[in-house]
Symmetry: C3
Subunit: 137 residues, 3 copies
């Protein structure tokens, strides 16, 4: 069995932002030498997410509008008693989910034609970490 | 380590449809010879999902009603500027998630009594692919 | 390759409850002897979930309020024709997702500073099972 682990750090300029990860994941896969297996891509924070969808700017705006409807930024979360104001970011993270598994086949990320991997920052402008772990042979 | 990969193609009659996958996954597991490990079941499209829940028709209707409430089919998604009309399908895919991992124990899918795996088509009537990758020993 | 499987049983006092799993998962990891790999933590029921987020009581109340808004307990789910009254629990399970994968690095659960793993019971007061499967080397 072969495994390979890398960490990425993001510090987004905006509080909420999407970062396209697929090219960086391909580079990591190449370094890993894994030909068959799985790659876990997982945010290490509870106010961020990772998802697979289309790299299309209109859709990305739709996603932000939708997330704001289902898990709105607002003042009255009980979590804010701790001094934070990011209750919405925790809920957005639960909705989007914080991780994906990408299959690895014949040394390549086995994604569909339009599938791309994104890091979703819900409370940025500070260092946030993500782990990529490949496992296979 | 042992790994085994298969692809399925779906072309549903209706635009939105659930397909029960568990029996096919059991067949793939048997072919794979894997006794201990994990099976990734992942849609290769961004307008479809995979989930685990009950095989109960009333619940399935509840799921469709619920998905339509939380991620409605409507005209004014910005994604539709590309000529598509499936913005809702992308959001439904994010909500349901596009993949699951099923544990494999003693040569069997280690699901609970009522757990079944479903492919959820949100924009069908055309060929859509899914990957099944088993990994273990 | 090394794999290790354990099952947990929960019988929560309340119908809806969160159970913090991280310390138990650390104990299982130690027993497994796995140094590099992944740990699948997956509810074996379709009315429960597993998620990663903050261990902060105010946030947990926010999560319950939010889940009740997005997947409310109510009488008129079609699933209730079977005699059940837990339609909401199935939808909450879909929303939260029933499983997570935790990376294992250098013999430890490779979680971020604030990441904790929770079992979310949506229809408890009876025995419910969860599987933990570690895989790696």
């Amino acid at each position: 069995m072969r495994s390979h682990t890398e960490y990425m750090v993001f510090r987004t300029k905006k509080r909420r932002e999407l970062v396209h990860l697929t090219p960086r994941l391909e580079t990591i896969l190449e370094k890993s030498g894994i030909r068959e297996g799985m790659m876990l891509v997982s945010a290490m924070h509870i106010t961020a997410g990772v998802f697979v969808n289309d790299d299309e700017p209109g859709l990305h705006q739709d996603i932000w509008t939708w997330l704001e409807q289902l898990a709105p930024f607002k003042a009255d979360y009980l979590h804010h008693r701790t001094g934070e104001d990011n209750g919405d970011a925790h809920l957005k993270s639960m909705l989007v989910h914080h991780e994906v598994i990408v299959p690895i086949t014949a040394g390549r990320l086995d994604l569909g034609t339009w599938q791309r991997v994104f890091y979703a920052e819900f409370d940025g402008q500070r260092d946030k970490r993500l782990i990529v772990k490949g496992m296979g042979e």
